[in-house]
Amino acid sequence: RDFNERCAQCSEVNWGLTDGGRFYCRSCHNVTERTREVVNTDFITNSRVQTISKGLKKQEKTDGGCEWYICEGFQLVLKKQVEALEALGVCPQMKDEILCNFWRCYLQKSKQAYCKRPAGETVKALSVCESSTDVDSDPERPSVLHLLSLSESEGDLQTDCSFASSVSKVSESTSVYSGSVDGSLYLMKNQKEKLRMTMPMTLSFCYLALLWVREPITLSELLRFVVEGHIPYMNVFQHFPEKMKLCGLDLKIFCVESWPVYEEVFNKMHELAAFLDLPRFPDITESCFLHPDMLCMKYLMEANLPDELHNWTCRVVKKTGIGEVDFLTLMPGNKSTRKVKYDVLAAAVIVVVLKLLFLLDDHYEWLLSEFAEERNKNNTEDKMCLFYSGGPYFEFKKWYEVVKRSLDVEQKKLDEEKAKYLWRCEKPLFYSVKNKSKVLKRRQMVVNLQNQFGKLSGSVQRAEKPNPSSFQLSWSEENTDGSCFHGHSLKGVLQEKWGLLTAMNPDYWLCTVKLCNEKLCGHLAHYREVEFPQSYHFVLGLFSFLLRIQPSYIHDEVCMIEHRLFNKKLCKKLKYNTVLRK
């Protein structure tokens, strides 16, 4: 921005930078020949990384493309994502300070290994000949054909025969099978130690940064925003500048055809935090949004449960110690602490509380509900009574009916959305120049058919995506039909004992008597293999929908909390501890 010459055309001093790194006049759009070496302010001054920026300045190829590296692509992706987050209201420091630094750190840490072999050399060796008779090439390095069979994405490349055949005819530069310089290098397996960047990992980066600034967005929310299109992910490469030609193996890296999975993003995030050698993250305290007390309040509201339950969730949190700062705060690299999924944890707490108060064994909760119904009926005859008692008795049955109805509607909508999702974007993708015309023809046909049948269905072109909202289900107290349960009272399920309010329910059933070893079998408990009461399934299903994750994960957390809660009793093996058997 220190270019102060006057524009040749309009004599203004109002310069901007094109993607190609040239200066252009903002007033008259005159493009000069002057270029700047380092274009992006996000780039760090690490001397090793200078080679990347050189890529933009290098000779432009005949097809108007330039040489670009995979990490530049990812950088652009991250940039877009964090801008979207900013638009959602996240603080700007996240972009300029936090994420930026994380990314720099990552580049440093991963580039260190790159420098043992200058990137260009290895790439060339790969391109010359894909047969293993090449003396220069590392015999362990898989041939390109093998690369094609890596089954990370949904295998579209492995079935594209035309591509495979074109590879054998290649004898020149790498641009034929990847638009980027290091596309093929990037996909080689032995890069695992260096934590290779993937599309899901961009979300891990985002979440890491969000966690650092303790923004009130949970991982499940983030992923939901991605699916709803508020955060670029699926076809973000279409926003790459024209010069960055994407083809061949680049597609395998940037074109994912599946939605990111919570577990994957979460685990990668922790790997990343350790890889970057990050210090202890800012404390998650009681006033923090991610603290279970806060999240429980939110989820209670969303699940249409009485506010009074919040006292109970806080009690459980306190008793189990999961509200402790040291438990909640992320300490990268620390293998002994359990990795906390804030959203799942909060949901699990609520489930445990429901089990404490209502037992959820398919009998007791309905009994309590009948009891409450009776009380409510009697009370409506006496309006004054209602006024004093502060809200009707909470009836499980009514709640179940109301919530189930809404849940079914929303689930149905969601399922249809999933089926109607359009995965492809306007930007056509070619694996190689050879099948470009075929791809374009197909694209044209698809567009024609979409128009034809779109007209028939009478649907207007996809409506604007709904505004991002934190709540998927909302319940209003103003509704006179009594479908909002926030203000309802738990009187019917509580009793006073020695001055304390306790649950009338004396029993509790543990989801599992023994916890599994998470490292060995991936879960703390196994949700599908045991039959649980329908009410329990329902409650898990509700939160599974809200968090968009599999119920088994919530189940794991429930087990974990239960074992903490009943730790003493488990050790003593008192008679209350029975696993429910059907």
Binding site: E154, D156, T159, D160, C161, E257, S258, W259, V261, E263, E264, D415, E416, K418, A419, K420, Y421, L422, W423, R424, V439, R442, R443, M445, V446, N448, L449, Q450, Q452, F453, G454, L456, S457, G458, S459, G522, Q550
Partner: protein, 412 residues
């Protein structure tokens, strides 16, 4: 963690397809179109491993939707079909053929003909040889349309002939169509298959031009060549032809015998029985009884008065002559357990009497002979008939009573 629940392109499109399927089954065309719009991008993915690829799905589903949803807009439909033709070389001719069918259903004969001609002239390297069968079909249908044109010309010619006008041009045209049609129809019926309509038309042509031997050969091939799938219609056509040609009863009977073996409930069984009853040969008459018994085993014949009259006549005749009573016994043996409930219940007696007096008469006769005068059916009907003072029912009652001893003798 398992990736089974991971939502990806493939799963999303599978779900989309099942929504389309549901919508189609419930005839919700708009909804099906809505989901199809989302499905079409599958074309951009390679599904070479799947059994049915997206292009075929889209062709079939799109055809259904457009056919039902926009029936008045053939233009759109045709446009769509043209697109589908370009989608898959291996399917080109099939799509052409189905397009032709739709055009025919819509009465657009000329367009259909044009499409057939176009398809016939299609060449695509080795695909042409691979899709040989489809080409034959296309030629056959073109032959069929030529036959239709020939028919039309024939009609015109006959009308003109009545008026006393001779029209050479029309005649020439007619012969031209004949030649074109004959060539193609002859070809297709050489291949084992079910070609009813082609055979009928071809035989019609041959007969008109006096080529009876050829016609007979064609029909014999069609009916008796074991390579061809079993087809009752083949025998019917042969029978009808032979009848037209005035063939002997013997040959007619031999054809119908095979038909009886394949389809005992065929409508020609009445003719068959009538022919057999008149025969001088004992065996044939016995066969006739078997034939009519067999036909009446089927629900479709329950209320067929003609069939019952055939059976009644034959049974009556046997009883009167007191010869070959064992034939009746034989026929009745396998039926005595279920025919009473099936044909001769009290409920049916009432209904038959109300709806069709002739039917009830014939049935009562049979019932009376087979089940004796005390069976519910006979009792009810004859009682009603006598009450109504209908002469024949009185006669019937007398007859059955008189021959009750015979009944006892057979079934005693």
């Amino acid at each position: 963690s398992s990736n089974e629940h991971k939502l990806n392109f493939k799963k999303s499109k599978e779900a989309c397809l099942s929504y389309i399927q549901d919508a189609l089954l419930q005839k919700q065309w708009k909804r099906a179109a809505e989901f199809l719009t989302c499905y079409v991008e599958s074309l951009e993915k390679d599904y070479s491993r799947e059994h049915i690829g997206p292009s075929e799905m889209i062709w079939r589903i799109g055809t259904e939707i457009l056919w039902h949803h926009s029936q008045n807009r053939m233009k759109e439909f045709n446009c769509f079909m043209e697109q589908m033709k370009t989608l898959g070389v291996k399917r080109y001719l099939k799509v052409c053929l189905e397009h032709v069918f739709h055009l025919l259903c819509n009465g657009q004969i000329d367009e259909a003909y044009q499409n057939l001609s176009l398809a016939e002239s299609w060449r695509f390297g080795e695909q042409t040889a691979i899709q040989d069968k489809e080409i034959k079909l296309i030629q056959a249908y073109r032959g069929l349309l030529d036959y239709c044109s020939w028919s039309k010309q024939k009609k015109i010619l006959l009308e003109h002939g009545e008026d006393g006008f001779a029209d050479l041009a029309v005649e020439q045209e007619m012969h031209g169509y004949f030649r074109k049609a004959a060539v193609n129809l002859k070809e297709i019926i050489k291949i084992p298959g079910v070609w009813d309509i082609f055979v009928k038309c071809y035989v019609d042509l041959l007969e008109f031009y006096g080529e009876h031997n050829e016609a007979r050969q064609v029909l014999n091939e069609y009916a008796y060549n074991s390579k061809f799938p079993a087809n009752p219609n083949a025998h019917v056509y042969l029978y009808q032809f032979l009848k037209r040609q005035g063939e002997s009863k013997k040959s007619l009977i031999s054809v119908l015998k095979i038909l009886h073996d394949i389809v005992p409930s065929h409508e020609l069984m009445i003719d068959f029985n009538t022919m057999l009853q008149k025969s001088k040969k004992r065996k044939k008459r016995q066969l006739g009884l078997e034939v009519i018994f067999a036909a009446l085993d089927y629900a479709a014949w329950k209320e067929n008065a003609k069939a019952w009259s055939c059976l009644a006549r034959q049974v009556k005749q046997i009883v009167i002559s007191e010869k070959h009573l064992d034939w009746i016994k034989q026929g009745w043996n396998s039926r005595k357990d279920w025919w009473p409930d099936f044909h001769f219940s009290h409920y049916l007696a009432k209904r038959n009497w109300q709806e069709n007096k002739n039917l009830s008469y014939e049935k009562a006769l049979v019932a009376g002979i087979l089940l004796g005068k005390d069976c519910k059916y006979f009792k009810y009907v004859s009682h009603q008939g006598c009450k109504a003072r209908l002469k024949r029912f009185r006669m019937l009652k007398k007859f059955v009573t008189r021959h009750n001893l015979v009944y006892l003798r057979i079934f005693g």
